[in-house]
């Protein structure tokens, strides 16, 4: 897996958590929101991330009837998820400031 993909996956996880914290959401809506923000993702990228976060206990799932087919999974953030989001936010702020310093030529 390339570094770019790994970074993107990490960022997507954090952004998904933030989106889910704000509103109850299902897979397709999550993809739509991410694309509105400016990511270029599809269900094939987002669904495995949602599954992994659910398996880790960071998200919980509620099934509701779908107008089209099988029950639709709605994702909600758990307490563990809130902690992970907080952790992501802190890490991201730190990385962002460090990278900005380097990019602005402030190093050394």
């Amino acid at each position: 897996m390339s570094i770019e993909t790994q970074i993107l996956k990490g960022l997507l996880e954090g952004c998904l958590l933030k989106i889910i914290e704000k509103e109850e959401i299902y897979g397709y809506k999550a993809v739509e929101r991410l694309n509105e923000i400016g990511f270029d993702v599809n269900e094939a990228t987002v669904y495995p991330i949602l599954t992994r976060l659910t398996n880790k206990g960071i998200l919980r799932v509620e099934k509701r009837p779908s107008p089209y087919g099988p029950d639709r999974k709605y994702y909600f953030i758990t307490d563990l998820g809130e902690e992970s989001l907080q952790e992501f936010d802190t890490t991201w702020q730190h990385i962002q400031s460090v990278v900005n310093k380097v990019m602005d030529g402030g190093q050394g």
Partner: protein, 299 residues
């Protein structure tokens, strides 16, 4: 890389088909063998044999053509029919769904598989309703399926295929020993099985693994088809060798068909066999159900 793999597979399939053709040859040769008064070589038997081979070859070819175009296609169409929510998918979406299903299915337990496939169906049906192209939704369907498997922390399904191959070989060897023991009614540990049984048992395990491993990204039905070829081919080979052995009485054939290998010579080997079979079964189940345990750990 994938092209060379496909070429190898095609060659492999052609060889298996040749075995199937041989089946017809052997059936007629067997008949010829029974009709002849003795099994010693003479020119009459030889010429009649050659003509029979030619006729059998042509007949088998026709049978294969009929089987390929009518029988297999009918079975494939029957098995490929859409079930349940799959009926909501159009052909493009259904084709990709089938590919994903073929990869996902061996990796999950029955309950988990149903849940994951329902998720995939929900995603696909919703996207289809939005009028989106299937490729924009799933991208590379193989990668999508493997990402799903990985998201459950599951081991690559190729290990499950390897375990299945080992399991088949062991069960066939054990079954052969039991069969010989039952027929000969001797002491259980004194039963000997012909070398050809050992060779074919191991070969079948390897073939099963190779086919599953290489075709894991393809339609599951292709595996069934190739396995059928292999089974026919094995029988053909057995018959062919046994007939040639009777005609020419070569030492090699005598060696292959003479019961000379003690697969289970004592209670220790028997225990080892049973242990490996149970361990293989348990490992297989472990890999399949790891996702369920993960849920129990992190509800």
């Amino acid at each position: 890389m994938r092209d060379s793999k496909n070429k190898l597979l095609k060659i492999f399939i052609i060889i298996l088909k040749i075995f199937l053709i041989d089946l017809g040859v052997c059936l007629l040769l067997t008949l010829l063998w029974f009709l002849s008064l003795n099994s010693t070589f003479n020119s009459y038997v030889f010429i009649t044999g050659l003509v029979t081979i030619l006729i059998a070859f042509l007949l088998s070819l026709v049978i294969i053509m009929i089987g390929e175009f009518l029988l297999f296609d009918s079975i494939v169409n029957f098995l490929r029919r859409k079930k349940g929510y799959e009926k909501f998918l159009n052909e493009d979406y259904f084709r990709e769904y089938e590919k994903i299903k073929a990869i996902i299915s061996p990796a999950f337990s029955r309950i988990k598989r149903k849940e994951v496939l329902n998720d995939v169906l929900e995603i696909m049906i919703s996207a289809q309703e939005q009028g989106r192209n299937v490729k924009d939704v799933v991208g590379n369907s193989d990668e999508f399926a493997f990402n799903i498997i990985e998201s459950y922390g599951l081991i690559n399904p190729r290990w499950i295929h390897l375990l299945n191959g080992i399991m088949v070989s062991l069960c066939l060897l054990f079954g052969s020993h039991l069969g010989i023991w039952f027929m000969e009614r001797m002491n259980f540990f004194n039963a000997l099985i012909p070398s050809i049984f050992v060779i074919l048992s191991i070969l079948l395990g390897i073939v099963l693994f190779i086919i599953s491993y290489n075709l894991k990204r393809r339609d599951k039905l292709k595996k069934v088809r190739i396995l059928l070829y292999f089974i026919f081919g094995s029988f053909t080979l057995l018959l062919l060798i046994s007939i040639i052995g009777d005609f020419y009485e070569l030492p090699l054939f005598n060696y292959l068909f003479h019961p000379n290998i003690a697969v289970i010579p004592n209670v220790y080997v028997l225990s080892l066999y049973l242990f490996i079979i149970v361990a293989t079964l348990l490992l297989n189940q472990y890999f399949r159900k790891k996702s369920l345990r993960q849920f129990i750990k992190n509800p």
